[in-house]
């Protein structure tokens, strides 16, 4: 007989996300993840996809996220959870040498000036 109810966590990253320490856990409502803007979902998806692809170890991201959150709370920064998440992701991809700070600044400038207008995933 086929089993119907899959475990709610089916992949290793999911388990790690589910087990994230209370102090850095993802915003949830009714037990489910909440994204307040599409970019938050993208930032979330990038971190998870890179990890699933073996590009980094989840603990490396988690450690940076814990630092970002601790620092923001120490300085009473008004940043949101996903802004901190994004900052952690940026530090990780820079530390790993995946991209350089110059590349990010160049790309930001291209977007700001309208020189570049990628087909951004609108959901």
């Amino acid at each position: 007989m086929d089993k119907i109810k899959e475990s709610p966590v089916t992949e290793s990253t999911d388990i790690r996300i589910a087990n994230m320490d209370e102090s850095i856990a993802l915003p949830r409502s009714n037990g489910e993840l909440v994204f307040e803007a599409p970019w938050e979902g993208r930032a979330f998806g990038i971190a998870v996809a890179l990890n699933e692809d073996g590009q980094y170890d989840w603990s490396e991201f988690q450690a940076r996220l814990a630092e970002e959150i601790a620092e923001a709370e120490r300085t009473d920064a008004p940043s949101t959870y996903y802004e901190r998440w994004l900052a952690s992701l940026e530090r990780l991809v820079l530390d790993k040498g995946m991209i350089t700070p110059e590349e990010i600044e160049t790309r930001m400038a291209e977007y700001a000036s309208g020189q570049r207008n990628d087909d951004w995933h609108q959901h």
Binding site: N30, G45, D53, E83, I104, H123
Partner: protein, 203 residues
Amino acid sequence: MSGQHHPEPESYAAIRARAIESLLVEKGLIASDAVDARVQAYEQDIGPLNGARVVAHAWVDPEYRTRLLENGTEAIAEFGYTGAQGAEIVVLGNTPDIQNVVVCTLCSCYPWPVLGLPPTWYKSHAYRARVVIEPRAVLKEFGLELDDVVEVRVWDSNSDIRYMVLPERPSGTEGMTEDQLMALVSRDSMIGVAKAKSPAQVG
């Protein structure tokens, strides 16, 4: 989440996230559709909040409850939730003696304006085939054991009618506000494979 485009300009963080993603994609370090897949997998769990709001309102407002059970589509539209691909939404009220359960035996018809995208198991062949034949056994696998006196009614959704279950209001919730009640309404309880949570379960 129906994903309307937002006309307001992108925030700094949004542009920065976009810059990082586009660079990673360009370098072949990440596949854009892999990000899509992850976002979608998690986003599908956001939708049920609309349904939870409808249920919580029906629990506190008997007149709304009556309207909801008489004409689900119209009562749900009072919250601005519309667009079930032209289908009617019929709301089924659970009672102490009746447990309603929703399935789509043919495919995966689902009241998505209130419940978001269906969970994977809802689309599985096992659920679609078995819940009709042995609903009690299936509900038991979801952790829902019913007394023998409770009648289980299985409703098969289709392209014209989408069903949603109105779970019973849990006991011990008399003093709770609508917002507090919403937290008790899980997606599974609106498909009918679970009861609404008790206040103790959500802490």
